[in-house]
Each structure stands twice: as C-alpha cells, then as structure tokens.
Symmetry: C2
Subunit: 440 residues, 2 copies
C-alpha cells in the first residue's frame, strides 16, 4: 500500500452520510493534515445515479456508477463504504480487502452478520477495517470499548441505541399519545424510515449489540444468538403505570457477562426514573459500559444523522490514514487474535424483576390469588397495586405487580397460570425491570 504523503480515498455510496462526510472532509483537510502529518484526498466516488443534482462541489473527483471501479482503483488506499445493505456491500468490501485496500464502513448489518468473515480477511490481507459509524452515530463507543477500557474486565454494556425507538417511547411518555400516532410523527420528522419495522421491531438495535458485544468481550459477532424484541406492542397505560411506580420504559440492548456465559438481549424494559439512561431522551443514543476498574462509564449523543455519522466516519478515516502514514498498519486489533468463546445463555434463564399487568374481574380475592401464584414460585412481590377501572361499566380492574428477581422462564409460567385463571380477563402484559445489578 501507498505510504506516500497523500492518502487516497474512494467512496462507494454517496447518500446523506456520504455527502456529509465528503463536505466535512473538504472543509477540514487542512486541520486534519496538521494533526496527522499527511494529506487526504478523495479520488473517486461511486454513486447510484450519475445524473442526479447534488449540492456538493466535487472538484476533480472521478464520479462513476460502478462501485467496483472504486474498490479496484489502484489509486485508492481507503475505501469508504456507505452503500448500506449486506449483499453488494459484502462483495464490495471483500473485493476491496482482497485488493489490499483498507475499509471504513458505517454498515451495521454488514458487520453484525458478516463481521467475522470480513475482519478475518482484513487480518489475512494486512489491511485495516474500521466501523465506528456503524453504532450510535457520533458516539465513539467502538473506540472506547476497543481501546479505552482495554485494561478492564467488562461486566456489561447496556445501550439505548435505536433513535427511532427512543424517540417514540419518549414521546409516548411525555405526550401521552399512542405508538401509532407517534410513529407517524417520527416519519414526518425524518426520525423514522418509511418502513420502520427494522427499527421498531429491534433488528437494528440487535445488529448494533452484536457489534458492541463482540468488541467488548472479544468474541465473534453473534447477531443470530441475540434475543430481540421491539416496541410495537407497548401501550400508553403501561408507560403511565411504570412512571407512577418510579420507572421509565426504554428499549434496551444488553450484553452482560454472567457466571453461565454471555446474555445478549434487546427488549423494552422498565428502568428507574433516576437512572442515567432514563435521561437519554428523544433521538439521542446512550451507552453504559461497566468495567471492573472503570466503574460505570456513560457515553451519549446523536445516534444518527448525516453530520453525526460523518463525524465517526472521519475519525475512522483519520485512524486508518494515521496508521498508513506512520507505518503502524499492524495496529491494535479491535478484538484479540484468538477470540474468546463464552456460551450464550438462553433468554429464558435471564434474571430480573418484572412488571406484570393483568385485567382482573372486580371481585374479592384476586390480589390474594396472584400473591399465591408468585409465592408458589418463591418470588417476592415488591409492589402490587389495584388501579381504577378505566371503564367502569366493564367490571375489569387493572392490577399492576412488580416482582422480585426471577428467571424469564419462571415469569412465563406465572403469566400462563394467571392468563388461565378465571379471575383474569384477556392477556397478561409483562416487561423486565432492569436494575443494573450484574451477578458476576
């Protein structure tokens, strides 16, 4: 690879993030040169549509609509992959690496699913791959995990890492409007995609957790082993009852080391109102890293958007350019060479308190019945409240329970027993209460 004083970049993908990155790079080239000692130059850009009008002065950059031209261009040192998706992107990145290019990507799905294959081929070809922008926009969480807490044994990583989910839940909590209406608003504001299912059903947060957990614990990328739930079924009344009990409903991505292995789970959960993650509102992302030396470290900031993502992409470009320029290509690996292998524990074995809501017949003895069921599982009741019937005529009363710590397996049995009781009408609502007490 070139070790000349000009490091050459080729972009594949030139949407919002690509253009923001390009513009910010042009503006700050001088500042970056002062810092790293070498120049950066964008030499080619692959776009989808050559004819499209863009508000970007491309100067002398070669435009092409064939992304393979960029990844095969002998002039290109670093390929900046911002095309998204896992099919063409996977091939492009693989060809780029095979041709000795370094790669910077913002593609979370690609790394979450094909990260092992990609990192291994980069290692074999002695090229660098960086993906800070794949998780949580401008928040430098990949660098923090791979470099700043490296002397720690990580206990847990807990993140609010999907801006759409967090925006929707924050708005439901403050404006008391249903999931569906807020989602519509989020789409109008550009905070949610036209097809939001990828976000609201938890897949996007799952991809990001696969990346965070692999870096934090030095394991494979294990997206397929993550338990993933979304926020699509959350009701306003549960957000309101949670708040009365001192909790906020958040969509969390959790990787925690337990004596039995690694728990990897994405789901809505109640967290205490005064917990630092409860203050992460709207489209902001926040990630808590708990290390044995560092204690809880919290990073928060813009989790999406062209400029915020560009901030991370550029930091990766500078990292790689620095390594090329200084000859330090054999730079610190993002994960250990020999990966660690923890068993992934089953979600049903994960332990926490639970929030349970049932609609009960308005008759004596229901509270006692619920208490007996939980007692038969040897689980304590932290709080139990009979709420006012929302509809007086219906003769249904909501009962809200906070349980002590128990397994998901046990709470599911409890919920089944309650659902089949004559005193309970309809389904049983149940969410984890996350107390951030790691059992390790």
């Amino acid at each position: 690879m070139s070790s000349s004083k000009i490091i050459k970049l080729g972009f594949v993908g030139f949407g919002t993030v690509g253009q923001s990155t390009f513009i910010a790079l042009q503006r700050n080239l001088c500042q970056i040169k002062k810092q790293i000692g070498c120049e950066l130059e964008v030499v080619s850009v692959a776009v989808n549509d050559l004819e499209k009008k863009r508000d970007v002065n491309l100067g002398g950059v070669t435009l092409t609509n064939d992304p393979f031209e960029v990844v095969l261009d002998p002039n290109v040192d670093i390929v900046v992959e911002l095309i998204g998706g896992t099919e063409i992107a996977r091939e492009l990145v693989s060809v780029a690496i095979a041709n000795g290019k370094h790669v910077v990507t913002a593609n979370k799905a690609l790394i979450a699913i094909f990260g092992d294959e990609i990192l291994l081929s980069a290692q074999n070809e002695k090229t660098l791959i960086r993906f800070e922008a794949a998780v949580a926009g401008s928040i430098p969480i990949v660098k923090a995990l791979s470099e700043s807490v490296r002397g720690n044994r990580i206990k847990a990583v807990v993140g609010i890492i999907n801006g759409t989910c967090n925006f929707v839940l924050s708005e439901m909590a403050t404006k008391h409007v249903s999931f569906a209406s807020i989602l519509g608003e989020a789409q109008r504001l550009g905070y949610a995609e036209a097809d939001p299912s990828f976000d609201v059903m938890g897949t996007d947060a799952g991809h990001k957790l696969a990346i965070l957990s692999a870096i934090a614990f030095g394991t494979k990328f294990q997206f397929d082993k993550i338990h993933v739930e979304g926020i699509q079924d959350i009701l306003l009344e549960d957000i309101a009852y949670a708040k009365e009990l001192g909790y906020q409903v958040k969509h969390l991505a959790i990787a925690v080391k337990t004596p039995g292995g690694l728990e990897l789970r994405v789901h809505p959960a109640l967290i205490p109102l005064d917990h630092i993650l409860a203050s992460v509102d709207g489209v902001v992302n926040g990630i808590l890293v708990d290390g044995d030396l560092s204690g809880p470290l919290m990073l928060s900031g813009a989790g999406a958007g062209g400029d915020a993502t560009a901030s991370a992409v550029i930091s990766d470009i500078i990292d790689v350019a620095s390594a090329i320029y200084t000859g330090g290509i054999k730079a610190r690996a993002l994960r250990p060479e020999k990966l660690l292998d923890y068993p992934i524990t089953s979600f049903t074995e994960s332990v926490s308190g639970y929030y349970v809501r049932v609609e009960a017949k308005d008759k004596p003895g229901v509270l006692a019945e619920i208490s007996r069921v939980l007692a038969s599982f040897n689980v304590s009741i932290e709080a139990i409240q009979q709420k006012e019937a929302r509809d007086v005529a219906s003769a249904k009363v909501p009962i809200v329970i906070l349980t002590g710590r128990m397994t998901e397996r046990a709470i599911r049995e409890v919920c089944e027993i309650l659902a089949s009781s004559d005193s309970i009408i309809g389904g049983v609502i149940c969410y984890k209460v996350e107390d951030f007490q790691w059992a390790n």
Copy 2:
C-alpha cells in the same frame, strides 16, 4: 527503543493509583497480550518508603527508593509517572524523555503547567507521552478529543471535572446542609483531601481545563490564562432559590470558541435542571463536547479513585505499547504540530444570563429601582422574585433576579450600583446562568 515482544514498564510513584494499576495489569496481562500481540512487564518500581508494608505481590520487580534509577534504567521502555506534584515529577519526566523513554502520566498539574515543554521534548526525542488519567479518571476524554472528534470543529467543551466540588454541591442541594458541614463529611468519606482548598477553590478543575482545551482546540496549555473561581462561598439559600427557578448550581469548567477568541473559565454557575450535566451527581464527572458535526457528545463516569484512574493509565500504557510493537511510534499527535493560537478573551467580556440576589430593605420601590438599573444597561429581566424575609425582625427581604444575556463587565457594574443603593443591605450575590448557547 526496544521493539522486542516484551515491553518493559517502570513505575515512579506507588500510591493508590500506582498499586491499583500494578494489580490490574498483573491480572490482565494475558488478555492484553491477546489484544496487542506483545507482552508487558513491570521491571522496576520507585517507592517513597522501601520498608512500608503493601498488599501487593511484587514478584520479581526491582524496588527502589530512587525514582531516577527507574527513569534511567536502560531496560525500561515506558515510564509510568504517578508521583504527582510538579517539581520532582517534571525533572523525572524530562530525564525519562531525554533518555528515550515513553511516558504515561496521571499528573494533571504537570501537564497543565509544563505540558508544552514536555510534549515538545517528547516530539524532539521521538518518544510518546500520554495522560488520559490526568483528566476525569476513567472517562476517555483525552482520546475522544484527540481522536474521535478530529473531523469536527469544536465549539465548546464543558465539564464537571472536580469530584469534590460536585459532591459538595450535590449534597448541599439534596441535604440542605452548609458547605462547611458537607466538606467535613466529604473528608471523612475520602472524597476530599485533608487540605481541600486545591479542589474547592477551582485550581484542580483549572488544571484539567487547561489540558482539555489544549487538546480540543489544538493550542498551548494555558492554565495561567484561565479565569478560576471555586465553590467556597456558595450559600444554601442560593442553591434553594436556583432550584425554585428551575436551575441547579454546578461547578463548571468551560472552554468555548467565540468570534473574539477562546473563553477559558472555571466557576460555579446555574444550569437548567433538565440539562444533561445537571444529572451528573456526587463524585461523578461529566464532560460535554460540542462539535460542528457530532453535535453534543456527553461522557460521564468515575472521575477519581484508584481503579478508575488505573483504567485510564492502562489504556495509555496499551496505546504506547501498541505503537512500540507495531513500529508506529510516529503515532498521531495529540495536538497539531503547528499549534493554533486563539486570543484568550477576558472573563469580563464573557456573555451569559445572571442570577443576582440582594437583601433589600422592606419598603416600596425596591423592585422598580432594580429594574431601572438593569434597564439602563439595556438588559432584560427574565424573572424577578421577592422572597419571604428569612428573619422577620430584620426587615430585610431577599430579592432574586434572573437577567437576560449580558457581559460579566456589565453585571459587575450593575452589582456595584445595587450594592451602593440605600435600599440594598450588604453585598450582592451573583452567578452566571449557563444556557449552553455558543455564539459561533
């Protein structure tokens, strides 16, 4: 320097942080080797008292009470300076660099005051110097500023970076107990030094701000140009009145780029209760970085303590060891080679809203008089409240005012005029209200 597979460390200083670092390194040597590909070994440690009993298994490490033995030891690749202070430490670091050693230090005063001289000599001798642990314990703020937001133009860095001040203010706000009593409690808990003046008068936060601002803006270390105020005069009643108005009193360290230059200031200020920095409580530190691309990024965590500081020291040791091992010694500089030179603006020209409290005679016309004074400076009044007299017999009533934005120079004139009024009894209390609106 050695590029063999074992990188050798020499410690000078072996107090709380030194011992925590040593123990954590021993425990994690294997994990670190897997990550960076080379081994680390502590070969010598300089202590104050050779006879002192320590709960540390030193194995085969050479103990000495002459720190110069360590910095001159031809076996040592990296000197870990944890001795503190600026006199011997300065000489030790300088001798270490002159002898081609790399240096990792947690010494904030040393870097804040002699950083330029030290970084320049390291640059000349082609050795590395790192000081993540000098600011905010385990929070990776030096790395975030020097690497992760490098593509940004930084607008401002605002930190709660003195745990003692933050603990005292948090406790005053929640327990309604005076500065002096809380300080005593903090000393008993080990959160404050026997001589706390260095912390509570703002010097420590000033040292840290000198470091943060130099890295964020690529300037010299300019501790001597920072306006520094402490928290020693803050009264409970002002914390209470602030809260009634929707604000919390925090001790802030602020570096902000303005059209006129760089503002560098450390002082107590009112911040909105719902601002993210308001949730940084107790001994926790929090730092907000505002970049033009990233938007506001917040990092928070343990700002002090043996283990938290060791976490940062070890991340620096790994950074340097990686660079030695990969041959990338000419690694990215923490600041540009040619430093930037912004004028440091005078504190009296800094603009913000203000909280003003006076004790007025209980007679008509006082509110009108205050309003007239502010109007004569063309400053709006955001809120003005006459409080109940705390001592009915005294015929004094507290009046609390929130002003619109104005310069410190103007508010000082206002306060002088008010203090000399016949209607006002005693001194005038005045604090900045920080609205986090940067004028650039």
